[in-house]
């Protein structure tokens, strides 16, 4: 149970598995056996690869795993896509659409999975929303209160990278796109410059949240395997002590 104790207090006093703020008064989540493990980090840092590998490993260990990812709610995905392509988003509607997407996934995917004793792997969590809002000048207290309905994860990993390494990686992977380059912020027409400046600001926001929300920092420049090994070590250690239910006996 050592890990649970470590994390307590690191989330601004909120115990993992509980609501950050007012929560959903109509939905009690007390003593649900599942766990939330979130992987945070900026665009192109390699989150999804790590999630995929971690999922495979956890399933072999006998755990039930559910994945949830940013803007993947069936309710909101079409609207968010439409809004992004039509140039009518302002910083407030941007923030609120994301919050709505998260709320939909929280109630329809995350909470039922926790209740059933699954491990929820979150590809990005509320911190991405807070970082993007922060860069766009949204009031930092307001957005934290807004996400008071979110559940504090049991573990939050943050894949850290610098803006230059990130730029090369994103270019190798297929190029920079409008939103992850922060072109909506109208800093200039050069997408490369805009990308670096926007991602630098985002990284600053993530860094500022590390202590507040108890991020476990992983170096995103290390190899996929090295990062995955470290992830598995920390997750394994946590789960051993947490008494999380397994669906199956682990393979020898």
């Amino acid at each position: 149970m050592t890990n649970d104790a470590d994390i307590q207090g690191a989330h601004g006093g909120v115990t993992p598995g509980h609501y950050y703020g007012h929560g959903l008064p109509y939905l009690s989540i007390d003593r649900y056996p599942g766990k939330i493990i979130a992987l945070e980090g900026t665009d192109g840092v390699g989150r999804s690869t790590q999630i995929r590998l971690l999922r495979e490993w956890l399933e072999v260990q006998g755990y039930g795993v559910v994945e949830t990812g940013w803007t993947r709610s069936p309710l909101m995905q079409p609207t968010i896509e439409l809004a992004k392509s039509s140039n009518t988003l302002n910083k407030l509607t941007f923030v609120l659409l994301y919050a709505c997407d998260f709320a939909d996934r929280l109630e329809k995917e995350i909470i039922p999975a926790l209740k059933a004793g699954f491990i929820v792997l979150a590809d990005r969590y509320i911190y991405t929303a807070i970082a993007r809002a922060g860069v766009r000048g949204v009031d930092s207290q307001w957005i934290r209160r807004l996400y008071g309905f979110a559940i504090a994860p049991h573990l939050v990993f943050y894949l850290r990278i610098d803006a230059d390494a990130l730029a090369r990686r994103v270019l190798e992977a297929g190029g920079m796109e409008y939103w992850e380059s922060g072109m909506d912020m109208k800093a200039g027409d050069d997408i490369y410059d805009s990308f670096r400046s926007y991602q630098r600001q985002l990284l600053k926001e993530y860094a500022a949240m590390a202590d507040e929300f108890g991020f476990r920092v992983l170096e995103g420049r290390k190899s996929v395997n090295t990062i995955q090994e470290e992830l598995r070590r920390q997750v394994g250690e946590f789960l051993e002590g947490s008494g999380s239910p397994r669906l199956l006996t682990p393979e020898a």
Partner: protein, 180 residues
């Protein structure tokens, strides 16, 4: 003068419509979608006419969310914080009506009560009129709390339309005279 209606922004319409059709909205997503709609209209439809010195007539304002979302079980303080970005209206008028009158009026106009309007999503009753009564009673209780909290001016909406309109015009002209 400019008129703006609740839940009318093009941005959010698709999601709201899809969600309502499939009865897929939870109290929280219902609340957040309406806040998104409001934020969109605030930016494009409310703030510009205000800057131009026009009068904006809002058919429902944040108080609708405060009453309705809380009746659905969303946290009272949270929803007030959520709308922290809204512009404080110069005059907020609440047309108060007893539950029976409002039910009679709705039934006289329409064949069927709408799913969310009747609070059918709450599962309190499978009979629409009964569900409406249970849900809207909670909504009206919340409105009564809002009156002193936000200084809403109450008009008795059980009376004749002529009387209501007379009182309404008087309220508005007093406000406008005082401000000019």
């Amino acid at each position: 003068m400019f008129v703006t209606e609740w839940n009318s922004s093009a941005l959010v319409k698709a999601a709201t419509k899809a969600g309502k059709k499939k009865n897929a909205l939870t109290p929280m997503t219902f609340s957040l979608l309406h806040a998104t709609d409001f934020a969109d209209r605030l930016l494009y439809k409310i703030v510009p006419p205000l800057k131009a010195g026009m009068i904006v007539l809002a058919d429902r304002y944040t108080y609708t969310a405060f009453a309705r979302d809380v009746a659905r079980g969303v946290d009272r303080e949270w929803v007030r914080d959520l709308y922290g970005f809204a512009v404080q209206p110069d005059l907020a008028v609440y047309f108060r009506v007893p539950i029976d009158v409002s039910l009679d009026r709705l039934l006289a106009r329409r064949v069927k009560l709408k799913f969310y309007e009747a609070g059918m999503d709450m599962g309190w009753s499978s009979i629409p009129t009964e569900s409406f009564r249970l849900f809207q009673s909670k909504v009206l209780d919340e409105y009564d709390k809002l009156v002193p909290e936000f200084g809403l001016t109450v008009i008795d909406a059980a009376g004749s339309i002529t009387d209501q309109q007379h009182t309404f015009r008087q309220l508005v002209s007093t406000k406008l005279e005082r401000q000019s």
